[in-house]
Protein backbone atom coordinates (compact mmCIF):
# COMPACT_ATOMS: atom_id res chain seq x y z
CA UNK A 1 0.00 0.00 0.00
CA UNK A 2 1.60 3.28 -1.08
CA UNK A 3 -0.62 5.73 0.75
CA UNK A 4 -2.78 5.05 3.78
CA UNK A 5 -4.88 7.90 5.05
CA UNK A 6 -6.80 7.25 8.21
CA UNK A 7 -9.49 9.55 9.63
CA UNK A 8 -7.66 12.62 8.42
CA UNK A 9 -9.01 15.93 9.74
CA UNK A 10 -7.83 19.51 9.35
CA UNK A 11 -9.46 22.30 11.29
CA UNK A 12 -8.89 25.97 10.64
CA UNK A 13 -10.12 28.57 13.12
CA UNK A 14 -13.49 29.07 11.46
CA UNK A 15 -13.69 26.09 9.19
CA UNK A 16 -13.23 22.36 9.03
CA UNK A 17 -11.31 22.06 5.75
CA UNK A 18 -10.97 18.28 5.79
CA UNK A 19 -13.35 16.19 7.81
CA UNK A 20 -12.58 12.57 8.70
CA UNK A 21 -11.21 11.46 5.35
CA UNK A 22 -9.91 7.91 4.93
CA UNK A 23 -8.61 6.28 1.78
CA UNK A 24 -5.78 4.13 0.51
CA UNK A 25 -3.82 4.15 -2.71
CA UNK A 26 -2.05 1.07 -4.10
CA UNK A 27 1.37 1.18 -5.72
CA UNK A 28 1.11 2.07 -9.38
CA UNK A 29 -2.38 3.54 -9.17
CA UNK A 30 -3.40 6.93 -10.62
CA UNK A 31 -5.96 8.47 -8.32
CA UNK A 32 -7.80 11.67 -9.12
CA UNK A 33 -9.05 14.07 -6.51
CA UNK A 34 -12.09 15.80 -7.85
CA UNK A 35 -14.04 18.55 -6.22
CA UNK A 36 -15.16 22.14 -6.54
CA UNK A 37 -12.81 24.91 -5.42
CA UNK A 38 -12.55 25.04 -1.65
CA UNK A 39 -13.57 21.41 -1.21
CA UNK A 40 -10.35 20.57 0.63
CA UNK A 41 -8.27 19.12 -2.20
CA UNK A 42 -5.24 21.37 -1.74
CA UNK A 43 -5.38 21.06 2.05
CA UNK A 44 -5.39 17.26 1.76
CA UNK A 45 -2.48 17.32 -0.68
CA UNK A 46 -0.48 19.68 1.51
CA UNK A 47 -0.99 17.32 4.42
CA UNK A 48 0.08 14.36 2.28
CA UNK A 49 3.25 16.20 1.26
CA UNK A 50 4.03 17.05 4.88
CA UNK A 51 3.81 20.82 4.35
CA UNK A 52 1.04 21.26 6.90
CA UNK A 53 0.28 18.87 9.73
CA UNK A 54 -3.10 17.25 10.24
CA UNK A 55 -5.32 18.22 13.16
CA UNK A 56 -6.28 14.59 13.56
CA UNK A 57 -5.80 11.21 11.97
CA UNK A 58 -2.71 9.80 10.32
CA UNK A 59 -1.02 9.58 6.94
CA UNK A 60 1.43 6.86 6.03
CA UNK A 61 3.46 7.00 2.83
CA UNK A 62 4.99 3.61 1.97
CA UNK A 63 4.51 2.70 5.62
CA UNK A 64 6.22 5.86 6.95
CA UNK A 65 4.26 8.24 9.15
CA UNK A 66 4.36 11.68 7.54
CA UNK A 67 4.28 13.55 10.83
CA UNK A 68 6.63 11.38 12.92
CA UNK A 69 9.27 10.70 10.31
CA UNK A 70 8.72 13.64 8.05
CA UNK A 71 12.11 13.70 6.32
CA UNK A 72 12.01 10.01 5.39
CA UNK A 73 8.46 10.40 4.05
CA UNK A 74 9.41 13.50 2.05
CA UNK A 75 12.13 11.51 0.28
CA UNK A 76 9.39 9.26 -1.14
CA UNK A 77 7.29 12.13 -2.42
CA UNK A 78 7.52 14.40 -5.43
CA UNK A 79 5.15 17.28 -4.93
CA UNK A 80 3.93 19.84 -7.42
CA UNK A 81 2.19 22.63 -5.50
CA UNK A 82 -0.84 24.38 -6.93
CA UNK A 83 0.77 27.64 -8.07
CA UNK A 84 4.12 26.11 -9.06
CA UNK A 85 6.39 28.37 -6.99
CA UNK A 86 9.77 28.83 -8.68
CA UNK A 87 12.73 31.19 -8.28
CA UNK A 88 12.22 33.62 -11.12
CA UNK A 89 15.78 34.90 -11.28
CA UNK A 90 17.34 31.46 -11.76
CA UNK A 91 17.92 29.60 -15.00
CA UNK A 92 16.13 26.29 -15.56
CA UNK A 93 19.33 24.22 -15.29
CA UNK A 94 20.49 26.15 -12.25
CA UNK A 95 17.15 25.63 -10.50
CA UNK A 96 17.00 21.92 -11.23
CA UNK A 97 20.60 21.42 -10.11
CA UNK A 98 19.87 23.33 -6.89
CA UNK A 99 16.77 21.22 -6.24
CA UNK A 100 18.68 18.00 -6.99
CA UNK A 101 21.31 18.92 -4.39
CA UNK A 102 18.58 19.85 -1.96
CA UNK A 103 16.83 16.53 -2.44
CA UNK A 104 20.02 14.62 -1.78
CA UNK A 105 20.68 13.32 -5.29
CA UNK A 106 24.33 12.15 -5.19
CA UNK A 107 26.51 14.90 -6.75
CA UNK A 108 27.87 12.66 -9.48
CA UNK A 109 24.39 11.72 -10.62
CA UNK A 110 22.99 15.24 -10.53
CA UNK A 111 23.72 16.01 -14.16
CA UNK A 112 22.27 12.68 -15.27
CA UNK A 113 19.06 13.18 -13.30
CA UNK A 114 18.65 16.77 -14.42
CA UNK A 115 19.00 15.69 -18.06
CA UNK A 116 16.56 12.82 -17.49
CA UNK A 117 13.77 15.00 -16.07
CA UNK A 118 14.38 17.69 -18.67
CA UNK A 119 13.92 15.15 -21.40
CA UNK A 120 10.81 13.69 -19.77
CA UNK A 121 9.21 17.11 -19.46
CA UNK A 122 10.31 18.46 -22.83
CA UNK A 123 12.72 21.03 -21.42
CA UNK A 124 15.94 19.98 -23.16
CA UNK A 125 16.14 23.21 -25.12
CA UNK A 126 15.07 25.51 -22.29
CA UNK A 127 17.95 24.80 -19.91
CA UNK A 128 19.59 28.20 -20.34
CA UNK A 129 16.39 30.21 -20.09
CA UNK A 130 15.59 32.32 -17.07
CA UNK A 131 12.55 30.95 -15.25
CA UNK A 132 10.96 34.39 -14.92
CA UNK A 133 10.79 34.62 -18.71
CA UNK A 134 9.06 31.27 -19.25
CA UNK A 135 5.42 30.88 -20.25
CA UNK A 136 2.92 29.30 -17.89
CA UNK A 137 3.13 25.96 -19.68
CA UNK A 138 6.89 25.78 -19.37
CA UNK A 139 6.76 26.84 -15.73
CA UNK A 140 4.39 23.94 -15.13
CA UNK A 141 6.89 21.61 -16.79
CA UNK A 142 9.75 22.94 -14.69
CA UNK A 143 7.64 22.32 -11.58
CA UNK A 144 6.91 18.79 -12.74
CA UNK A 145 10.59 18.20 -13.56
CA UNK A 146 11.44 19.37 -10.05
CA UNK A 147 8.93 16.91 -8.56
CA UNK A 148 10.50 14.05 -10.54
CA UNK A 149 14.15 14.82 -9.79
CA UNK A 150 14.76 12.33 -7.00
CA UNK A 151 12.70 9.58 -8.71
CA UNK A 152 10.06 9.56 -5.98
CA UNK A 153 7.75 6.61 -5.59
CA UNK A 154 4.74 8.83 -5.12
CA UNK A 155 3.85 11.91 -7.15
CA UNK A 156 1.41 14.43 -5.72
CA UNK A 157 0.26 16.87 -8.37
CA UNK A 158 -2.03 19.69 -7.35
CA UNK A 159 -3.99 20.83 -10.41
CA UNK A 160 -1.23 20.02 -12.89
CA UNK A 161 -3.10 21.37 -15.92
CA UNK A 162 -4.57 24.56 -14.48
CA UNK A 163 -3.99 27.63 -16.62
CA UNK A 164 -2.64 25.72 -19.62
CA UNK A 165 -3.92 25.94 -23.18
CA UNK A 166 -5.59 22.85 -24.69
CA UNK A 167 -2.52 21.54 -26.48
CA UNK A 168 -0.40 21.97 -23.37
CA UNK A 169 -3.10 20.21 -21.33
CA UNK A 170 -2.93 17.30 -23.73
CA UNK A 171 0.85 17.06 -23.52
CA UNK A 172 0.79 17.22 -19.71
CA UNK A 173 -1.87 14.48 -19.63
CA UNK A 174 0.24 12.32 -21.88
CA UNK A 175 3.22 12.95 -19.66
CA UNK A 176 1.21 11.91 -16.60
CA UNK A 177 0.16 8.68 -18.30
CA UNK A 178 3.77 8.05 -19.22
CA UNK A 179 4.87 8.66 -15.62
CA UNK A 180 2.23 6.28 -14.31
CA UNK A 181 4.32 3.37 -15.56
CA UNK A 182 6.89 3.97 -12.83
CA UNK A 183 5.16 6.08 -10.19
CA UNK A 184 2.07 6.11 -8.06
CA UNK A 185 0.21 9.34 -8.80
CA UNK A 186 -2.31 11.37 -6.89
CA UNK A 187 -3.57 14.37 -8.81
CA UNK A 188 -6.26 16.88 -8.14
CA UNK A 189 -8.38 18.76 -10.59
CA UNK A 190 -11.75 20.34 -10.98
CA UNK A 191 -11.88 19.55 -14.68
CA UNK A 192 -13.94 16.43 -15.13
CA UNK A 193 -12.79 14.97 -18.42
CA UNK A 194 -9.29 15.10 -17.05
CA UNK A 195 -9.94 12.41 -14.47
CA UNK A 196 -12.02 10.40 -16.93
CA UNK A 197 -9.04 10.35 -19.26
CA UNK A 198 -6.12 9.96 -16.89
CA UNK A 199 -7.25 8.30 -13.68
CA UNK A 200 -8.03 4.75 -12.74
CA UNK A 201 -9.87 5.80 -9.64
CA UNK A 202 -11.66 8.97 -8.61
CA UNK A 203 -12.19 10.36 -5.15
CA UNK A 204 -14.89 12.97 -5.24
CA UNK A 205 -14.33 15.30 -2.35
CA UNK A 206 -16.94 17.73 -1.22
CA UNK A 207 -16.95 20.04 1.79
CA UNK A 208 -13.98 18.21 3.26
CA UNK A 209 -15.51 14.76 2.99
CA UNK A 210 -15.18 11.98 0.47
CA UNK A 211 -18.46 11.87 -1.39
CA UNK A 212 -17.56 8.93 -3.61
CA UNK A 213 -14.63 6.70 -4.49
CA UNK A 214 -14.64 4.41 -7.52
CA UNK A 215 -13.48 4.02 -11.10
CA UNK A 216 -14.79 6.70 -13.44
CA UNK A 217 -16.87 4.09 -15.31
CA UNK A 218 -18.44 2.60 -12.18
CA UNK A 219 -19.22 6.02 -10.76
CA UNK A 220 -21.01 6.93 -13.91
CA UNK A 221 -23.02 3.72 -13.85
CA UNK A 222 -23.79 3.90 -10.15
CA UNK A 223 -25.16 7.40 -10.27
CA UNK A 224 -27.28 7.28 -13.35
CA UNK A 225 -27.59 3.54 -13.62
CA UNK A 226 -28.34 3.63 -17.29
CA UNK A 227 -28.30 5.04 -20.74
CA UNK A 228 -30.63 7.33 -22.55
CA UNK A 229 -32.05 7.00 -26.06
CA UNK A 230 -33.01 10.20 -27.82
CA UNK A 231 -35.46 9.98 -30.69
CA UNK A 232 -37.33 12.61 -32.65
CA UNK A 233 -40.48 11.26 -34.24
CA UNK A 234 -43.27 12.55 -36.40
CA UNK A 235 -46.04 10.54 -34.80
CA UNK A 236 -49.33 10.98 -32.91
CA UNK A 237 -48.27 11.68 -29.34
CA UNK A 238 -51.06 9.81 -27.59
CA UNK A 239 -50.11 6.64 -29.44
CA UNK A 240 -46.30 6.87 -29.62
CA UNK A 241 -45.75 7.53 -25.91
CA UNK A 242 -47.35 4.33 -24.56
CA UNK A 243 -45.82 2.22 -27.32
CA UNK A 244 -42.32 3.46 -26.54
CA UNK A 245 -42.89 2.79 -22.86
CA UNK A 246 -43.73 -0.80 -23.65
CA UNK A 247 -40.30 -1.46 -25.16
CA UNK A 248 -38.11 -3.76 -23.02
CA UNK A 249 -35.87 -2.21 -20.31
CA UNK A 250 -37.48 1.21 -20.60
CA UNK A 251 -37.89 2.91 -17.23
CA UNK A 252 -39.44 6.13 -18.33
CA UNK A 253 -40.21 8.30 -21.33
CA UNK A 254 -40.07 12.07 -21.50
CA UNK A 255 -41.48 13.93 -24.45
CA UNK A 256 -41.25 17.45 -25.72
CA UNK A 257 -43.36 18.83 -28.60
CA UNK A 258 -41.34 20.66 -31.25
CA UNK A 259 -43.89 21.83 -33.85
CA UNK A 260 -44.89 18.72 -35.82
CA UNK A 261 -42.08 16.66 -34.32
CA UNK A 262 -41.88 15.19 -30.88
CA UNK A 263 -38.60 14.82 -28.99
CA UNK A 264 -38.53 11.67 -26.86
CA UNK A 265 -36.00 10.65 -24.25
CA UNK A 266 -36.08 7.06 -23.10
CA UNK A 267 -34.44 6.17 -19.82
CA UNK A 268 -33.18 2.59 -19.94
CA UNK A 269 -31.20 0.19 -17.84
CA UNK A 270 -27.41 0.04 -18.16
CA UNK A 271 -25.74 -1.45 -21.19
CA UNK A 272 -28.77 -1.88 -23.41
CA UNK A 273 -29.05 -0.24 -26.77
CA UNK A 274 -32.67 0.23 -27.82
CA UNK A 275 -31.99 2.21 -30.96
CA UNK A 276 -32.81 -0.74 -33.17
CA UNK A 277 -36.08 -1.40 -31.34
CA UNK A 278 -37.14 2.21 -31.70
CA UNK A 279 -36.31 2.17 -35.38
CA UNK A 280 -38.29 -1.06 -35.94
CA UNK A 281 -41.23 0.36 -34.06
CA UNK A 282 -41.18 3.49 -36.19
CA UNK A 283 -41.08 1.44 -39.38
CA UNK A 284 -43.93 -0.80 -38.20
CA UNK A 285 -46.13 2.15 -37.29
CA UNK A 286 -45.15 4.21 -40.32
CA UNK A 287 -43.73 7.12 -38.28
CA UNK A 288 -41.10 9.44 -39.62
CA UNK A 289 -37.80 9.46 -37.73
CA UNK A 290 -35.26 12.28 -37.93
CA UNK A 291 -32.99 11.70 -34.96
CA UNK A 292 -31.94 8.61 -33.10
CA UNK A 293 -29.01 8.60 -30.72
CA UNK A 294 -27.70 7.13 -27.49
CA UNK A 295 -26.26 9.12 -24.59
CA UNK A 296 -24.24 7.88 -21.68
CA UNK A 297 -24.15 9.82 -18.48
CA UNK A 298 -20.84 11.61 -18.07
CA UNK A 299 -18.91 11.85 -14.85
CA UNK A 300 -20.03 15.43 -14.78
CA UNK A 301 -23.55 14.29 -13.92
CA UNK A 302 -22.20 12.11 -11.17
CA UNK A 303 -20.16 14.99 -9.90
CA UNK A 304 -23.02 17.46 -9.90
CA UNK A 305 -25.31 15.01 -8.20
CA UNK A 306 -22.80 14.24 -5.50
CA UNK A 307 -21.74 17.78 -4.83
CA UNK A 308 -24.99 19.66 -5.16
CA UNK A 309 -27.58 16.98 -4.50
CA UNK A 310 -29.36 17.90 -7.71
CA UNK A 311 -31.78 15.10 -8.54
CA UNK A 312 -31.86 15.44 -12.30
CA UNK A 313 -28.90 16.15 -14.48
CA UNK A 314 -28.92 18.59 -17.33
CA UNK A 315 -27.97 17.68 -20.87
CA UNK A 316 -25.16 15.18 -20.56
CA UNK A 317 -22.08 16.44 -22.30
CA UNK A 318 -18.43 15.74 -22.59
CA UNK A 319 -17.35 19.36 -22.61
CA UNK A 320 -14.98 20.40 -19.94
CA UNK A 321 -16.86 21.70 -16.99
CA UNK A 322 -15.35 24.04 -14.46
CA UNK A 323 -17.01 24.78 -11.17
Amino acid sequence: MMVEVDHLTKCYPRKKAVDDVSFAVDSGEIVGFLGPNGAGKTTTMRMLSGYIPASGGSIRIAGIDVLRDSLAARRKIGYLPENVPLYNEMRVDEFLRFKAHLKGVPPRQCRKHVERVKELCGLTREGRRIIGHLSKGFRQRVGLADALLHSPELLILDEPTIGLDPSQIRSVRELIKELAKHHTIILSTHILPEVEITCQRVLIIHEGRIAASDTPANLRAAIQGGTRIVAELHAPREKAGPLLEQLPHVRGVKSDQREAWTHYELECATDVDLRQNVFELAVREGWKLRELSIKKTSLEDAFIRLTTGEPESREPSMDSYEV
Binding site: I52, N88, M90, F98, K99, H101
Partner: protein
Protein backbone atom coordinates in the same frame (compact mmCIF):
# COMPACT_ATOMS: atom_id res chain seq x y z
CA UNK B 1 25.18 18.81 4.78
CA UNK B 2 24.88 18.81 0.99
CA UNK B 3 21.49 20.46 1.26
CA UNK B 4 22.99 23.10 3.54
CA UNK B 5 25.73 23.81 1.03
CA UNK B 6 23.25 23.98 -1.87
CA UNK B 7 21.03 26.41 0.03
CA UNK B 8 23.95 28.54 1.18
CA UNK B 9 25.30 28.76 -2.34
CA UNK B 10 21.90 29.62 -3.78
CA UNK B 11 21.46 32.35 -1.16
CA UNK B 12 24.85 33.92 -1.75
CA UNK B 13 24.38 33.68 -5.52
CA UNK B 14 20.94 35.21 -5.10
CA UNK B 15 22.48 38.45 -3.86
CA UNK B 16 24.63 38.79 -6.94
CA UNK B 17 21.79 37.80 -9.30
CA UNK B 18 19.69 40.66 -8.00
CA UNK B 19 20.59 44.35 -7.93
CA UNK B 20 20.61 44.30 -4.10
CA UNK B 21 24.24 43.21 -3.87
CA UNK B 22 25.54 45.92 -6.15
CA UNK B 23 23.47 48.71 -4.65
CA UNK B 24 24.45 47.76 -1.10
CA UNK B 25 28.11 47.32 -2.02
CA UNK B 26 28.25 50.62 -3.86
CA UNK B 27 26.73 52.72 -1.10
CA UNK B 28 28.60 50.86 1.58
CA UNK B 29 31.95 51.45 -0.11
CA UNK B 30 30.98 55.07 -0.74
CA UNK B 31 30.33 55.54 2.99
CA UNK B 32 33.53 53.80 4.00
CA UNK B 33 35.44 55.74 1.36
CA UNK B 34 34.23 59.03 2.79
CA UNK B 35 35.17 57.75 6.23
CA UNK B 36 38.67 56.94 4.95
CA UNK B 37 38.95 60.37 3.35
CA UNK B 38 38.19 62.03 6.69
CA UNK B 39 40.81 59.83 8.31
CA UNK B 40 43.47 60.70 5.71
CA UNK B 41 42.57 64.36 6.10
CA UNK B 42 43.05 64.16 9.85
CA UNK B 43 46.31 62.23 9.50
CA UNK B 44 47.75 64.80 7.10
CA UNK B 45 46.62 67.65 9.37
CA UNK B 46 48.25 65.97 12.34
CA UNK B 47 44.97 66.10 14.26
CA UNK B 48 44.77 62.40 15.22
CA UNK B 49 43.63 61.75 18.75
CA UNK B 50 43.30 57.95 18.87
CA UNK B 51 44.45 55.09 16.70
CA UNK B 52 43.55 54.71 13.05
CA UNK B 53 41.21 51.77 13.65
CA UNK B 54 39.39 53.66 16.37
CA UNK B 55 38.68 56.44 13.91
CA UNK B 56 37.57 54.03 11.19
CA UNK B 57 35.53 51.65 13.35
CA UNK B 58 34.82 52.45 16.95
CA UNK B 59 34.25 56.17 16.86
CA UNK B 60 33.05 56.45 13.30
CA UNK B 61 29.43 57.35 12.69
CA UNK B 62 29.92 55.99 9.16
CA UNK B 63 30.53 52.53 10.53
CA UNK B 64 27.24 52.55 12.42
CA UNK B 65 25.22 54.10 9.61
CA UNK B 66 26.49 51.35 7.34
CA UNK B 67 25.54 48.66 9.85
CA UNK B 68 22.10 50.16 10.50
CA UNK B 69 21.17 50.33 6.84
CA UNK B 70 23.04 47.47 5.17
CA UNK B 71 21.97 44.73 7.55
CA UNK B 72 18.19 45.19 7.20
CA UNK B 73 18.61 45.39 3.43
CA UNK B 74 20.62 42.18 3.13
CA UNK B 75 18.43 40.19 5.50
CA UNK B 76 14.91 41.37 4.67
CA UNK B 77 14.28 39.01 1.77
CA UNK B 78 15.71 35.82 3.26
CA UNK B 79 12.56 34.14 4.56
CA UNK B 80 9.85 36.72 3.82
CA UNK B 81 10.35 36.39 0.07
CA UNK B 82 10.20 32.60 0.15
CA UNK B 83 6.89 32.71 1.98
CA UNK B 84 5.48 35.38 -0.29
CA UNK B 85 6.48 33.61 -3.52
CA UNK B 86 5.30 30.28 -2.14
CA UNK B 87 8.73 28.74 -2.71
CA UNK B 88 8.78 27.91 1.00
CA UNK B 89 6.33 25.13 0.14
CA UNK B 90 8.91 23.69 -2.24
CA UNK B 91 11.67 23.95 0.35
CA UNK B 92 9.75 22.47 3.25
CA UNK B 93 8.37 19.55 1.25
CA UNK B 94 11.86 18.64 0.04
CA UNK B 95 13.68 16.31 2.41
CA UNK B 96 15.36 19.22 4.23
CA UNK B 97 14.88 20.02 7.91
CA UNK B 98 13.59 23.46 8.88
CA UNK B 99 16.73 24.31 10.85
CA UNK B 100 18.91 23.54 7.81
CA UNK B 101 16.88 26.02 5.77
CA UNK B 102 17.16 28.80 8.37
CA UNK B 103 20.84 28.22 9.17
CA UNK B 104 21.85 28.01 5.51
CA UNK B 105 20.07 31.26 4.79
CA UNK B 106 21.74 32.86 7.77
CA UNK B 107 25.13 31.59 6.60
CA UNK B 108 24.45 33.00 3.14
CA UNK B 109 23.60 36.45 4.51
CA UNK B 110 26.58 36.45 6.86
CA UNK B 111 28.87 35.46 3.98
CA UNK B 112 27.59 38.40 2.00
CA UNK B 113 28.20 40.64 5.02
CA UNK B 114 31.81 39.41 5.09
CA UNK B 115 32.15 40.00 1.32
CA UNK B 116 30.93 43.52 1.91
CA UNK B 117 33.67 44.26 4.43
CA UNK B 118 36.51 42.53 2.59
CA UNK B 119 37.47 45.45 0.30
CA UNK B 120 37.86 47.73 3.33
CA UNK B 121 40.73 45.56 4.57
CA UNK B 122 42.81 47.35 1.96
CA UNK B 123 42.42 50.68 3.81
CA UNK B 124 44.78 49.74 6.61
CA UNK B 125 47.42 48.55 4.18
CA UNK B 126 47.05 51.65 2.02
CA UNK B 127 47.69 53.89 5.03
CA UNK B 128 50.64 51.75 6.10
CA UNK B 129 52.09 52.07 2.61
CA UNK B 130 51.94 55.86 2.58
CA UNK B 131 52.84 56.25 6.21
CA UNK B 132 55.84 53.99 6.86
CA UNK B 133 55.94 55.18 10.49
CA UNK B 134 53.22 52.55 10.92
CA UNK B 135 50.41 54.39 12.56
CA UNK B 136 48.38 51.24 11.82
CA UNK B 137 49.04 48.21 13.97
CA UNK B 138 48.08 44.82 12.62
CA UNK B 139 46.71 43.75 16.03
CA UNK B 140 43.95 46.36 16.38
CA UNK B 141 43.14 45.92 12.71
CA UNK B 142 42.50 42.25 13.29
CA UNK B 143 40.46 42.80 16.44
CA UNK B 144 38.41 45.58 14.84
CA UNK B 145 37.35 43.14 12.13
CA UNK B 146 36.68 40.46 14.74
CA UNK B 147 34.38 42.90 16.54
CA UNK B 148 32.64 43.81 13.30
CA UNK B 149 32.12 40.12 12.57
CA UNK B 150 30.57 39.17 15.92
CA UNK B 151 28.36 42.25 16.13
CA UNK B 152 27.40 41.80 12.49
CA UNK B 153 26.66 38.10 13.08
CA UNK B 154 24.29 39.08 15.87
CA UNK B 155 22.49 41.74 13.83
CA UNK B 156 22.20 39.47 10.80
CA UNK B 157 20.55 36.87 13.05
CA UNK B 158 18.17 39.60 14.19
CA UNK B 159 17.41 40.31 10.54
CA UNK B 160 16.72 36.60 9.89
CA UNK B 161 14.28 36.54 12.79
CA UNK B 162 12.55 39.71 11.52
CA UNK B 163 12.31 38.18 8.05
CA UNK B 164 10.76 34.99 9.44
CA UNK B 165 8.01 36.94 11.18
CA UNK B 166 6.43 38.44 8.09
CA UNK B 167 5.84 37.77 4.41
CA UNK B 168 6.46 41.42 3.55
CA UNK B 169 10.08 42.40 2.93
CA UNK B 170 9.58 46.06 3.81
CA UNK B 171 8.03 45.14 7.15
CA UNK B 172 11.00 42.83 7.81
CA UNK B 173 13.48 45.60 6.95
CA UNK B 174 11.72 48.17 9.15
CA UNK B 175 11.55 45.70 12.03
CA UNK B 176 15.24 44.87 11.75
CA UNK B 177 16.23 48.54 11.35
CA UNK B 178 14.27 49.50 14.46
CA UNK B 179 15.77 46.71 16.57
CA UNK B 180 19.34 47.30 15.42
CA UNK B 181 18.73 51.04 15.95
CA UNK B 182 17.48 50.48 19.49
CA UNK B 183 20.49 48.32 20.28
CA UNK B 184 22.81 51.01 18.86
CA UNK B 185 21.22 54.00 20.57
CA UNK B 186 20.92 52.11 23.85
CA UNK B 187 24.70 51.90 23.55
CA UNK B 188 24.84 55.59 24.53
CA UNK B 189 23.01 55.09 27.84
CA UNK B 190 26.35 54.68 29.68
CA UNK B 191 27.22 58.21 28.57
CA UNK B 192 23.94 59.98 29.20
CA UNK B 193 22.21 58.27 32.12
CA UNK B 194 22.15 60.17 35.41
CA UNK B 195 21.92 56.96 37.42
CA UNK B 196 25.38 55.41 38.06
CA UNK B 197 24.08 51.84 38.38
CA UNK B 198 22.18 52.12 35.08
CA UNK B 199 25.37 53.45 33.51
CA UNK B 200 27.30 50.53 34.93
CA UNK B 201 24.90 47.83 33.70
CA UNK B 202 24.27 49.43 30.30
CA UNK B 203 28.00 49.50 29.61
CA UNK B 204 27.96 45.71 29.46
CA UNK B 205 25.40 45.80 26.64
CA UNK B 206 26.71 48.77 24.70
CA UNK B 207 27.83 47.81 21.16
CA UNK B 208 29.35 51.27 20.87
CA UNK B 209 31.66 50.68 23.82
CA UNK B 210 32.41 47.12 22.69
CA UNK B 211 33.36 48.33 19.24
CA UNK B 212 35.65 50.98 20.71
CA UNK B 213 37.39 48.29 22.74
CA UNK B 214 37.75 45.99 19.77
CA UNK B 215 39.21 48.76 17.61
CA UNK B 216 41.74 49.57 20.31
CA UNK B 217 42.92 45.99 20.16
CA UNK B 218 41.15 44.83 23.31
CA UNK B 219 39.52 41.42 23.02
CA UNK B 220 37.22 40.96 25.98
CA UNK B 221 35.58 37.54 26.07
CA UNK B 222 32.43 38.94 27.70
CA UNK B 223 31.14 40.80 24.64
CA UNK B 224 32.22 37.90 22.44
CA UNK B 225 30.09 35.53 24.48
CA UNK B 226 27.26 38.04 24.65
CA UNK B 227 27.07 38.35 20.87
CA UNK B 228 27.54 34.67 20.12
CA UNK B 229 24.88 33.54 22.58
CA UNK B 230 22.48 36.25 21.41
CA UNK B 231 23.05 35.10 17.83
CA UNK B 232 22.28 31.51 18.80
CA UNK B 233 19.14 32.54 20.67
CA UNK B 234 17.88 34.66 17.77
CA UNK B 235 18.47 31.86 15.26
CA UNK B 236 16.76 29.37 17.54
CA UNK B 237 13.76 31.71 17.68
CA UNK B 238 13.75 32.06 13.88
CA UNK B 239 13.77 28.26 13.46
CA UNK B 240 10.85 28.00 15.87
CA UNK B 241 8.94 30.64 13.91
CA UNK B 242 9.47 28.75 10.63
CA UNK B 243 8.43 25.46 12.21
CA UNK B 244 5.38 26.99 13.85
CA UNK B 245 4.36 28.54 10.53
CA UNK B 246 3.41 25.05 9.42
CA UNK B 247 1.02 24.68 12.31
CA UNK B 248 -1.12 27.68 11.53
Amino acid sequence: MRAFYALWKKELQGYFLSPIAYVVLMFFLLLMGVSLWFLVDMLSGGMMAGGVMQTLFGESIFFWVAMLIAIPVITMRLLAEEVKLGTMEGLLTAPVAEHTVVLAKYAGALSFFVCMWLPTAAYGFIIRYFDPDATVDIGPMFTAYLGTLVIGACYVALGVLASSLTRNQVVAAVMCFALVGISFFAGFIPYISANPSVRHVAAYFSPVIHMMDFSRGVVDTRPLILYLTTTAALLFAAIQVVESGKWK
